[in-house]
């Protein structure tokens, strides 16, 4: 059996009959390959078998297979962090487009909100999800529900409360407003679907303050932010894009007018 993987990113392991890798060995090899970023297929009648293991430990076999695929010891230390839209909940209100300062969102040719620049998203920042009125934005790597994709409960949705006043964000004293708010109950809503928290996250972006310990924005992200003036210009541009998109979606097309 050749040790060349079926493709650059796929290794097939044989199991289930005489001469195949044992279950424990296959599990160990598969785990090591997956942790290196390779896809693994387990098949009964093809793939790497026990003869390829020889006297090697599974670690050595996995290293050989990964090397054959041109893969190093471990996947890059990159966390897939980007918003995923649940279109069964999204109402195309464009609040996320207005709210995000990093041009992560855009509008498709048919005027539908979409994630266009996911690499612009700031790792560990789920602020847009917190302010989505319909709980339609997920970050699957986030720790808590419903942002992580957990089913949405009735009390997760607080549509009107989540309508964010962007002008207040840009011109108001956010911290004064936050201080005046009464202490909220410690429900899942208040912890994760929290406009206060989202505003604080975004306010940190606006003024490039040092991150508070209770926020989810890494210091390096804040350190890389543009100036407050540039950010305000971005926010205004985002607001206009959202407004244009909503007006475009509402206007009848040429065909409809005819």
């Amino acid at each position: 059996m050749s040790l060349v993987p079926a493709s650059r990113a796929l290794v097939i392991l044989r199991g289930g009959d005489e001469g195949s890798l044992g279950g424990a060995e296959r599990a160990r090899v598969a785990q090591l390959l997956l942790e290196r970023g390779l896809e693994v297929a387990c098949r009964r009648d093809q793939g790497v078998d026990a003869a390829d293991l020889g006297s090697d430990a599974p670690e050595a076999l996995a290293a050989r297979l990964a090397g054959g695929a041109g893969v190093g010891a471990a996947p890059a230390a990159w966390k897939p962090w980007f918003p995923v839209i649940d279109y069964s909940r999204c109402t195309n209100c464009m609040q996320c487009l207005s709210f995000c300062l990093f041009d992560v969102y855009g509008v498709s040719a048919d005027k539908k909100i979409q994630v266009q620049n996911q690499s612009n998203c700031k790792t560990e920042c789920p602020a847009c999800s917190r302010v989505c009125p319909e709980v339609a934005i997920m970050f699957p790597k986030y720790r808590h529900g419903p942002i992580n994709g957990e089913e949405v409960h009735t009390d997760d949705v607080r549509r009107e409360a989540m309508k964010v006043d962007i002008s207040a964000l840009l011109g108001g004293d956010i911290y004064s407003m936050l201080r005046d708010r009464s202490v909220k109950a410690k429900s899942r809503f208040s912890k994760e679907r929290d406009d206060d928290r989202a505003l604080k996250e975004r306010q940190n972006c606006l003024v490039a303050l040092k991150a508070s310990r209770d926020l989810d924005i890494p210091a390096e992200v804040l350190a890389a932010l543009p100036s407050p003036k540039e950010i305000q210009a971005k926010a205004e541009a985002a607001r206009l894009r959202a407004k244009t998109a909503i007006e475009g979606a509402a206007a009848p097309s040429d065909t409809e007018r005819d």
Partner: protein, 116 residues
């Protein structure tokens, strides 16, 4: 109905799925001598719009061991791969025990969550 295809996600790029659950499910699948596909991380594949997701979604019926069904459904959709609602079932390794996931994926018992 034909035997379900099995897809396992290792969530390799984050530590949100308990490591002991992932290991036990993977060992259970290899020990059961069933054919299955294992991917490093569905999020990462979705981020790259990996065309493999379309191939995997086309395998029906499909049993998925991963995370929250809502997240799995829309991760596939974000990559242009629609999961069939009536023949795709997802077991959640973030919240379920390894035994529960294995029993479901291998059809030892019937409870499951669809991606609807």
């Amino acid at each position: 109905m034909s035997a379900p295809r099995i897809l396992y996600c290792h969530c390799a790029f984050a530590k949100v799925v308990p490591a002991d659950v992932k290991s036990a499910v993977l060992e259970g699948l290899t020990g059961a001598n069933v054919e299955f596909d294992a991917v490093p991380d569905l999020c990462e594949m979705s981020a790259r719009h990996d065309p493999r997701l379309r191939d995997l979604a086309a395998q029906q019926p499909l049993h998925v061991a991963a995370c929250f069904p809502r997240a799995v459904k829309w991760l596939f959709a974000a990559a242009g791969a629609e999961l069939a609602a009536d023949s795709t079932r997802v077991w959640n390794m973030r919240t379920e025990s390894a035994d529960a996931v294995l029993n479901g994926v291998l059809e030892r018992t019937s409870p499951a969550e669809s991606v609807r």
